[in-house]
């Protein structure tokens, strides 16, 4: 009996027993839904993390020199924390020496930040990230100025109280007003708005426009950084290769400045987008390694359900098997019929699972800030698993069916 014939027969049976078929394939459906949804979300996150998170939050080809990591990955023990806290801070002198000695062409920006309250005319914006930095910062972070201008190196050196506002801050404090030239009060001192950054949108549902940038040496510096100390030195190279070279150079300069022996570890931290992605990578690795387990469990359960349903089907259809045998069905015809029926059932389950999995992924994308992208390989895998589970689950019931004695089977009620 050709395969096509067997599949057609299987579909006929499935269609005539819709409800029972549906219940029997629910296990496979759930397993595949899992597979598709998790893979879609993880894949979507991968793309998102690389495109958005790393490059927007840290910057393309950019690395930072810090006292301790900004993006912590894995478990941070108390000991690690204490040793970080004992590290010396990054000073202006460190920054100057690096700027002077580095040979790779880089753009450098000193950087400090903290959360501050901004006031305008009785209105308050709390929890705004106030950043003190240099004009190169706008280049490093790819921040476009929508209105006005960025501040200059001259203004940095003189500590002129001017501000470039994030889109959201401008909207909140100065709704409907032309923000340029307005005076915003921070810690009792007025700052003139000279520019507004273009809207940057959200990341994981958090706004990227809730910030204000001022010249590094502006008066509020003392609220966000101790004197002579900076949070981080940001460096941007022209391409990833040069970035790695520059990182090596900065490491060497810092180790020399700190008089570290070769056996001693760095007492400072160099971090780039790849490093920040480590955390996500380890999470996604866990998800991707845990996934086969989850999928396997539900597929095994699904397979057992299908096997039971098929055993029931064989028992219920003993007479049919007897008739088929009397009419000339060989053992292998009966075997093929039930294996194909089981595989078809399971594949239908997998197909529905792909549907609900994709649906779930899109639902997650629509309702949460998590992105989702369906991976084509996961669909092929799901179909393959569906066929495989069904075939394996069908073998035993089908063998029993094929071994029935036609005389006994014909007498069955």
């Amino acid at each position: 009996m050709p395969l096509f014939e067997a599949v057609r027969m299987a579909f006929r049976t499935i269609v005539t027993q819709k409800l029972k078929s549906f219940f029997s394939l629910i296990g496979v459906l759930i397993g595949v839904t899992f597979l598709i949804a998790v893979v879609s979300i993880v894949q979507g996150m991968n793309v998102y993390m690389e495109d958005q998170f790393a490059n927007r939050l840290i910057g393309l080809n950019t690395f930072t020199l810090r006292r301790m990591p900004n993006f912590m990955t894995g478990n941070v023990t108390d000991d690690m924390w204490r040793s970080w806290m004992r590290r010396p801070r990054i000073t202006y002198d460190d920054a100057d020496e690096i700027s002077a000695k580095i040979k790779t062409p880089v753009v450098v920006a000193r950087f400090c930040s903290d959360r501050m309250v901004l006031n305008y005319n009785g209105k308050q914006a709390k929890d705004i990230e106030l950043m003190g930095t240099e004009p190169s910062y706008f280049e490093i972070k790819n921040i476009e100025i929508a209105q006005g201008r960025p501040f200059t190196q001259q203004e940095v050196r003189s500590g002129v109280p001017v501000l470039v506002l994030g889109d959201l801050v401008a909207e909140k404090l100065l709704p409907g007003l032309n923000p340029l030239g307005k005076e915003i009060v921070i810690a009792g001192l007025p700052y003139r708005v000279i520019g507004v950054a273009a809207k940057r949108g959200t990341l994981f549902g958090l706004s990227l426009d809730k910030f204000a940038v001022m010249p590094f040496m502006a008066p509020a510096r003392r609220y966000i950084c101790p004197l002579n100390v900076l949070d981080e030195l940001q460096l941007k190279a022209a391409n990833p290769d040069q970035m790695l070279v520059a990182m090596g150079e900065v490491e060497a300069i810092m180790r020399a400045r700190r008089h570290l022996r070769p056996s001693q570890e760095n007492d400072f931290n160099l971090e780039n987008a790849a490093g920040a992605l480590e955390g996500w990578k380890s999470i996604s690795k866990v998800l991707i390694t845990a996934l086969p387990g989850l999928v396997a469990i539900s597929l095994v359960v699904g397979g057992i359900v299908i096997m039971n349903i098929m055993l029931m089907a064989v028992a219920e259809r003993t007479r049919e098997i007897g008739i088929r045998k009397a009419l000339g069905a060989r053992r292998r015809d009966i075997l093929a019929q039930f294996v194909v029926e089981s595989a078809t059932l399971s594949t239908v389950g997998a197909a529905l699972g792909i549907g609900t999995g994709i649906g779930l992924a899109f639902l997650v994308r629509a309702l949460t800030p998590l992105p989702a992208a369906v991976a084509p390989w996961s669909i092929f895998l799901a179909v393959g698993l569906g066929v495989f589970v069904g075939m394996v689950a069908g073998v035993y019931p089908a063998t029993r069916a094929s071994k029935l004695d036609p005389i006994v089977a014909l007498r069955a009620e």
Partner: protein, 233 residues
């Protein structure tokens, strides 16, 4: 010999029923020629069902020979027997044994599916067979939409569709009223006149009377083998 369809020699069939040996057939020898219309009769326990199962290649004898159309089938393995059932034998059962979820046409096509006939030819032959038993109109109906007589006609069409050497009918009228029984027996009569070899297993003398030869079994042996009539055309 070329005219002989079935030749059975010293057929013995024993069953082991929980340690007790049941002698269902104790040495049956029988020859049936092409286009014969034979009724096999006997009370229950006489071995007629066992004989029918062996003749229908559903069962193999403990000893003895069974030649069907020049092949010795008594020693064949399972799959070879399935092939013989498919090509050489058409079954008609008392309880019709149609697949309930399939239409009349699909039921009749089934033997051809196992014979590997391509679907277009299959359909054509199934339609032919149904038309032959007078059911050309009801091909798309499922068994539960058909009367008992119509169901048995579908079963007969299914039995005929592979152009078998023998049509083996086991109490074909057992579930039918007398009017319908007569109709079905008329179908058998017509088929026989068209050249079909028919073996009828029954315990009703009135049904056996339609056949031209009656073999009576008793206690696993042939009790009598008589020509009841010779119908000339």
């Amino acid at each position: 010999m070329t005219d002989t369809v079935i030749q059975v020699r010293q057929l013995i069939r024993e069953y082991d029923m929980g340690g007790e040996l049941i002698h269902a057939l104790r040495g049956v020898s029988l020859e049936i020629r092409r286009n014969e219309y034979v009724a096999i009769m006997g009370p229950s326990g006489s071995g007629k069902s066992t004989l029918m199962n062996v003749l229908g290649c559903l069962d193999t004898p403990t000893s003895g020979e069974y030649w069907l159309n020049g092949q010795e089938v008594s020693r064949m393995p399972d799959d070879a027997l399935a092939r013989v059932r498919n090509r050489e034998i058409g079954f008609v059962f008392q309880t019709f044994n149609l697949l309930p979820r399939s239409t009349a046409l699909q039921n009749v096509e089934l033997p051809l599916v196992y014979a590997g006939v391509p679907s277009r030819e299959r359909r054509q032959r199934a339609v032919e067979a149904l038309t032959r038993v007078g059911l050309g109109e009801r091909m798309a109906h499922r068994p539960n939409e058909l009367s008992g007589g119509q169901r048995q006609r579908v079963a007969i069409a299914r039995g005929l569709v592979n152009r078998p050497s023998i049509l083996l009918a086991d109490e074909p009228t057992g579930n039918l009223d007398s009017t319908t029984s007569d109709e079905i027996m008329k179908v058998f009569g017509d088929l026989q006149r068209q050249g079909q070899t028919i073996i009828l297993v029954t315990h009703e003398p009135s049904i056996a009377a339609f056949a031209h030869r009656t073999v009576v079994l008793r206690d696993g042996r042939i009790d009598s083998d008589t020509l009841t009539s010779r119908v000339a055309a």
